[in-house]
């Protein structure tokens, strides 16, 4: 094994094998047999006509191999119609090539019958799975190397080995207390505020997070209420008057 097959076109993988026919020659042979035609003197017009009829009833007419044979038959038919001079030596029967192919194919079918019989007999016998000759590894002597060589190899491996990818996590201080102060200051001035009022413009992620945590913390403490009337709507911050009153 090992050697690769010629690449197969995905379109070629489609195998037409309808009914008993394994190809156009098979179909042609069965026609010839059915009609009891002399293979050496094929009435090409009749055969071509029947071939076309068969492939249309077999719904094989989309299969290129069958169409190619149909075209070949029609070509031979046309060639047979050409007038030829009497006594011309060089005349070659346009059917000769077809006859040769049919005979050759018939021989293949005969071998197929034989192979089928043999494989059918063999199929009814079981063996242990067939083991092809094992591929023996080439004989190797004991390895010989010095300690220095071994250490050198280790050294090379270590140098080649990639440095581990270490992430350094830099702690980024959140200023939750500062944000709490800002929010408290804003709410001291006005009862209502928007998210955008408490977050500085062009805020860094850490600032946004600080404000968010501050709001949640203050809401937990009961100093304010957070409302979002619908999804993605701006968050409304309001001084919690109820708890103030309490």
């Amino acid at each position: 094994m090992g050697a690769r097959l010629e690449p197969t076109d995905p379109a070629e993988v489609f195998v037409v094998e309808l009914g008993d026919f394994s190809g156009p020659l098979d179909l042609l042979l069965s026609l010839i047999r059915d009609e009891q035609i002399d293979i050496y003197d094929i009435p090409i017009a009749r055969v071509a006509e029947q071939f076309l009829a068969r492939i249309s009833t077999l719904k094989l007419d989309e299969a290129a191999d069958y169409l190619e044979m149909a075209a070949r038959l029609l070509r031979i038919k046309a060639q047979m119609l050409l007038p030829r001079r009497e006594g011309e030596d060089a005349w070659e029967d346009p059917r000769a090539e077809l006859v040769r192919r049919l005979l050759e194919y018939q021989q293949v079918r005969e071998v197929v019958d034989l192979l089928e019989k043999l494989s059918e007999e063999r199929r009814s016998r079981f063996a242990r799975a067939y083991l092809p000759n094992p591929v023996l590894p080439p004989p190797t002597g004991a390895l010989s190397f010095s300690l220095a060589e071994l250490l050198g190899a280790v050294d090379r491996v270590i140098r080649i080995a990639r440095k581990p990818n270490v992430h350094e996590v830099i702690p980024r201080a959140l200023d939750v207390d500062g944000a709490i102060g800002v929010v408290r200051a804003i709410l001291a001035m006005r009862a209502q505020a928007q998210w955008t009022d408490v977050v500085p413009k062009k805020a860094e992620p850490w600032q946004v997070l600080s404000v968010l945590l501050a709001l949640l913390e203050l809401a937990k403490l009961g100093e304010l209420r957070l409302d979002q009337p619908r999804a993605f709507a701006p968050v409304a911050i309001s001084r919690d008057t109820t708890s103030e009153a309490a």
């Binding site: 197969t8 394994s22 079918r109 199929r123 079981f126 092809p132």
Partner: protein, 172 residues
């Protein structure tokens, strides 16, 4: 092991013959057959059904008619290229060659002459094993087949000449 292998071929052969007779005479379920240049112990056909019923083993899938045709052509014409197989069968052979190759029945044996140096295919020992053949020569020679072709190209011309004679006589 080593001492067994060192024994001359003759005694290996006689040991094999002894084993074969032993299987034969003592009514064993298996027999010893010479296959693909080696020996193989196979169950006897009369036990096929029992073995299958006991689900100890399943028969391999049958080859399709198209696959058998391709295999037949390769067996008799090897080494042979894909184009020649397609020419004989009148059908595209790509998919079938692939599946025969996957089943280990054929292998690429080299590259042919000519345009594109096509891959040439041949049958494998597995092919012989699957048909319980000792070697390829066990298949009938091409000229022993009922429908013997009058050899390849040159003789063929004569063949078609004769046939033209016939046709002309008939026409005349």
């Amino acid at each position: 092991m080593a001492s067994n292998l060192d024994e001359p071929g003759e005694s290996v052969d006689s040991a094999l013959a002894e084993l074969r007779d032993h299987y034969e005479q003592d009514g064993h379920g298996v027999e010893l057959l010479e296959v693909a240049g080696g020996w193989q112990i196979l169950t006897r056909p009369e036990y096929t059904e029992a073995i299958e019923r006991a689900q100890l083993a399943a028969r391999p899938q049958r080859l399709s008619a198209a696959a058998l045709e391709t295999l037949a052509i390769i067996a008799y014409r090897q080494p042979i290229g894909r184009a020649e197989i397609e020419e004989i069968r009148g059908v595209n052979a790509g998919a079938i060659l692939k599946s025969l190759h996957e089943r280990g029945l054929i292998d690429v044996t080299g590259r042919g002459e000519g345009m594109g140096r096509p891959l040439m295919y041949g049958t494998t020992p597995t092919f012989l094993e699957q048909l319980a053949l000792r070697h390829l020569e066990e298949l009938p020679r091409a000229d022993e087949l009922a429908i013997a072709l009058r050899a390849p190209r040159p003789a063929l011309q004569n063949g078609s000449d004769e046939q033209q004679e016939e046709t002309r006589q008939r026409a005349g």
